[in-house]
Symmetry: C2
Subunit: 147 residues, 2 copies
DNA sequence: TATTGTTATACTCTATAACTATA
DNA sequence: TATAGTTATAGAGTATAACAATA
């Protein structure tokens, strides 16, 4: 059975949509929206952030971050703390509930990785990851070229 | 160098985001939004559809489809044609401009697949696709189990 | 009685532009 | 003068619920 480039891309797209569906289930069960979960994810990765920093990480306008943080304050997942040295800025900081949700996100991702790839032999997994790496590198080059 | 399950999942997520970014560029250059492009893609795959059918394929409410089709009618990409046998229904049908855009979408995807995987050896590509297949099957089983 | 599409309404995400407070 | 965040406004995508026309 011969595999074509279209097969590989198609299956990657399919897998992407499955991962998205899984994420959507998490969002639904947590009562949060995708945009707000992504913001929490950034807080988990970087620690308390100014809204400017969040806007940069999320590739979204500062105004948009204001709205997302408003929602997360209302739901009790973050607070706006004063910045220690810059009185213009605010540090968006997870509450205990926010930290707990971030921990769930991390655990869910680790579990998913184990469920999907835990049984793949070391050799096959290494080849798979190597092909992914090459593909990502080619993609990055393409995006550069045609920018 | 040992590859971990987390590496594989992380790289798939990264590749997903790159594909999304590529799609966003197409959307911008075509002046259409993602939701409208997806609707056109479904039309390309299935031919003229009722709005009910589109709602099913897009996993979205019929009301939502009304809005998307309104936009695509305004931009000249589709028309609402009478259904030949059911006077309640409308057949959303691509115009020449819509067909042309669908053809561009297909060509773009084929080109991307070639750019990303065209140089991968047949053996490696077959292994890669096989691992993707297994992963997709495991994912589908997971979604069933925990539904 | 059920189905197709629309009107009415509302919420979230997103953006730009103008404004306030601070640096 | 520049930066951080907010108010004001707008548009797109999404949803539910009620309604008209047709099956």
């Amino acid at each position: 059975m011969v595999s074509l480039p279209e097969d590989a891309l198609g299956k990657i797209l399919l897998l992407s949509s499955l991962v998205s569906a899984d994420m959507a289930r998490f969002e639904e069960s947590s009562g949060l929206t995708g945009a707000r979960v992504r913001l929490l994810w950034v807080l988990g990765a970087h620690g308390p952030c100014t809204q400017q920093a969040l806007a940069g990480q999320l590739e979204v306008t500062p105004r948009n971050v204001t709205g997302l943080v408003d929602g997360l304050v209302d739901s009790g997942h973050v607070t706006r703390e004063p910045h220690p040295t810059d009185r213009r800025a605010l540090l968006v900081t997870p509450t205990a509930a926010g930290e707990s949700l971030i921990a769930q996100l991390r655990a869910g991702q680790r579990q998913l990785a184990a469920d999907l790839f835990g049984d793949v032999s070391e050799g096959l997994l290494a080849d798979f990851v190597a092909t992914l790496d090459e593909t990502i590198a080619r993609f990055a080059a393409l995006m550069e070229d045609t920018r």
